[in-house]
Symmetry: C2
Subunit: 350 residues, 2 copies
DNA sequence: TTGAAAGCGATACCAA
DNA sequence: TTGGTATCGCTTTCAA
């Protein structure tokens, strides 16, 4: 806790009897030094407990080795493997990832963009495509590579990898419809623009199929959690007790629905079929296991990070394909398995 | 995508026809400027889309407005409200939180400490008290406030707030013992030092009670998840089918155990009682609901952040109490409710 | 209220 | 292989 000044590069230089440049090189380009000097400097560095000031080095070299990542949430497991994938690519390349959790708020996102850009990152990775005008303007004006993930758009800021959530919602309904369901409910939480698109896809599918949705949709303004799944499902049941299938905007709600069924003595999938979204780990562990729409979160993270690496390390050229649709697949498990159906099976889309 | 240089403070100054200092003041101390000039500068800032270079400003002012936070995981919901609490205190004060996820690896932690210190944070918040010698040395040498959370120790680096995990494990066993259980199993994942302490507490309690634990402990080297709960519980059942209670090192394993019971047609809590750890949200939603040891994660985050704020903003004095034990409480829910028992009840410790 | 000059801690470029 | 010098973008005295 001594608050004596931290050692600087010059301190090391003086102590080792060399010039500051030499110390800098001992760290960045050790091969440029004679073995003798290198060793002397390295010893001094350790002795003084010297840690390079990244701010100063970034300022001088105009290479910050920082990539900014904005996620809307950390609560659910969704952004975990995504973040992990990004770091697994970037960290070994010596790049630090600055993460900002904006909790599904575009205002917070705007502030986060400004803050992160203040660190002069070499690239930015955004979740979703729904940034405000100002956010987009700042991002564009920064002149650095920007990757929007998780969703697809016709007008990407720069690069884009994601999936069509409306199509996913649409497909989920048709999947259930093909199994004979007609009263298909949808549980969802407001606030997440991608969830809204899934909802829109659900609605369109129901419309196309000529199925009424009155009383079949439950929507909460709060952040979703498992308990909310039970509440929303109960709301739907109160409106229409004959619901035969439920499509939820995420797996937490699906699990909550499953629990509510258990509580009420309703059998899954015989009385009610359930399809979640994201295919989190617990979907394969519950009783019955939960069918879910699987999304390629890791792939999106990896692609985003690798594209960035190529741009800032390599030629500076953008990848051939600037927009990628990774699609989705419906994983069939116990919560929708029909009496005659088989074990596990994934239906791939897009 | 234009890669023309980003606007600097001097650019703004030139454009507005004032000196750089004036622009700086328009941002940091607007009240020092005449209304007229302030407006002119602010207009120019917006026109040029100027975003201050935080690196340069931090370097010049030697105030980075950064606090480094190291967490061992983001997968489970455990570190989410903790991080949220920290940011809720620090962000409004204009302090950025740099988070590093080290995935329960002390080597990664060591690297993360070095990296984060490279950013010259004004304080560091560490999860746990099990840093390597070198990590501790770097932390001490940095001269900045360091808060260790989540666990307690006699030799804190600086400040410390947490709970006694050994005592928690001990209490969980006695809690189950008081309900008549004798064959109490423990499921846990290696790698987390706090989980190891809970395990030790379990072992001590069983020893003190004269209860043998052979075949009652299942331990996995991998990161735990819900599915693993089922696997570990199955392992225990294979060794000893007469297990009457299970204490797990976290809630994921508890949920997995619950599912395994459902799969095997074992009734909870009649055939098997379950106590988890952390009291995550889903514990209150499952069927039956899960009893769990509740930990004050938010409180720990808040205290850590507030203490830091006081030190770096205020007098620089450490808080009166440099070590805080926040204790824990056992939340009784359906998975341990005895036939005669009442609704909800929390037992508070420490 | 405004500005000029001197650094913050490192790196890049050019010499030696 | 080693070192001097200017500079990165901003803030902090100190003066006007």
């Amino acid at each position: 806790m001594n608050s004596k000044r931290r050692a600087t590069l010059s301190d090391v230089a003086r102590e080792a009897g060399v010039s500051p440049v030499t110390v800098s090189r001992a760290i960045r380009h050790p091969e440029m030094l004679s073995a003798q000097l290198r060793e002397r400097v390295e010893t001094t560095i350790r002795a003084l407990n010297y840690i390079p000031n990244h701010l100063a080095s970034a300022l001088a070299s105009t290479r910050t080795q920082i990539v900014g990542v904005i996620v809307p949430s950390l609560t659910n497991g969704v952004f975990d493997d995504y973040l992990g994938a990004i770091q697994d690519v970037l960290n070994p390349a010596g790049i630090q990832v600055l993460v900002s959790n904006v909790r599904y708020s575009v205002e917070q996102e705007e502030r986060a963009v400004e803050t992160l850009l203040g660190y002069h990152p070499e690239a930015m990775i955004m979740a979703g495509v729904d940034q405000t005008e100002r956010s987009q303007q700042m991002l564009r004006g920064s002149g650095i590579p920007v990757v929007q993930t998780m969703d697809v758009t016709d007008r990407p800021i720069d690069l884009n990898i994601g999936l069509d959530h409306s199509a996913a919602g649409y497909a989920a309904v048709h999947y259930l419809h093909a199994q004979g369901h007609r009263k298909i409910a949808h549980l969802t939480a407001r606030g997440d623009p991608r969830a809204r698109r899934r909802h829109a896809g659900y609605q369109k599918a129901m419309d196309d199929l000529g199925l009424p949705t009155a009383g079949l949709v439950a929507l909460s303004p709060r952040t979703s959690d498992v308990a909310m799944g039970g509440t929303l499902f109960s709301d739907v049941l109160a409106e229409d007790p004959n619901v035969s299938a439920v499509f939820t905007c995420n797996d937490d709600l699906a699990l909550g629905t499953l629990f509510e069924c258990q509580r009420r003595g309703m059998r899954v999938p015989d009385d009610v079929a359930i399809v979640g979204f994201n295919d989190l780990e617990f979907c394969g562990a519950s009783v019955p296991t939960l069918s879910s729409v699987s999304t390629e979160r890791q792939k999106m993270g990896t692609w985003a990070a690798q594209s960035i690496l190529e741009i800032i390390r390599g030629s500076g050229k953008r990848p051939a394909q600037r927009s990628v649709d990774v699609g989705f697949s419906i994983i069939t498990r116990g919560s929708t398995r029909l009496p005659a159906a088989t074990t596990r099976d994934a239906k791939k889309f897009s």
